[in-house]
Symmetry: C2
Subunit: 181 residues, 2 copies
Amino acid sequence: MPPPPLARDKVLDAFEHLLVEKGERAATMEAIAAQAGVSKGGLIYHFNSKDALVEGLDQRLRVRCEEDLELMKVAPEGQVGYFLRTSALADTPFDRTLVAATRLRSHAVAREGLVWVQRRWFDTLMEVVHDEDVARTVMLIGDGLYYNAASTALPDAGLGVGDIDGIVRLVEKLVGQSTAG
Amino acid sequence: MPPPPLARDKVLDAFEHLLVEKGERAATMEAIAAQAGVSKGGLIYHFNSKDALVEGLDQRLRVRCEEDLELMKVAPEGQVGYFLRTSALADTPFDRTLVAATRLRSHAVAREGLVWVQRRWFDTLMEVVHDEDVARTVMLIGDGLYYNAASTALPDAGLGVGDIDGIVRLVEKLVGQSTAG
DNA sequence: GTCTATACATCGATAGAC
DNA sequence: GTCTATCGATGTATAGAC
């Protein structure tokens, strides 16, 4: 049994941070090491290549996705409301990992991880919604919310909490009609 | 009057192509020159820095956006239908430029251009929908469609034409309720 | 106007001291 | 286990021939 990989986690946190705040091109090995507070050599000891770093992020993404789905299933506001609200503004560990993964467009591993997450979300939503069009629409709104939350580093351009409330209300009407009809 | 800038356009086409197909990190000056069929020196003659290239893309984005909005306003299927369908699968010049711009996350100029496009879309949709929640929801679905179309280089993971039809039908019901109620 | 050649910085990765 | 030093490849940008 290896000891708890605290340094590994610290490095992955730094990797995520740079990807989210500065984008893929800024997340160099050197910058990651500096952000994590270790040397380049120290980083390479834990992840001996950039690909290994991406794989570490992918594993973390899948683990945290499953954890989030468990929360979603027991959310008091319902699964659809939980899904939409966390898409927009939750700053959970899962969220940060997810947004970080969306920045790694050139890495096949990261793309596959994202497709896997979408599949897991879709299947879980279908357990409540029972209508593929509605489930797809909810998914798309979630994607849109993520896209906006992830891309808007500009002040004044994002959606406010009140905006989200209105959208959630609208979508829940849609879901209600589909399960009733 | 300078002669028509054919070479400039060819270089921007190459820049877009690489951004869309391979991502930001692959769109290097050398790769762009090769893709455009010119030398590195020839590229630099037209755009003397990478920032100049990004600015060229930003200008093209805004021009093509306005052209697209004119088409949207006279679309036979209605503005909402046009908006959603072109978000999903249109391979128009505007589309390629837009997706390319979404890849340039580290450049402030590109981010501002995208925010500007969103604002123009929102204002135009509001001319038809007259309800901010509905307009925002339509925008989000459009963002989601773009996000999916842009990110899925994987086979079998994207949305089909039939899926889009179902979603458009659902959204138009939503829009109809809002304008009726 | 477009090219070749090349300068200079920075990238990912290796070797080996401590 | 973490560091410094450094390599080869690749990035942006410049100088100057044609």
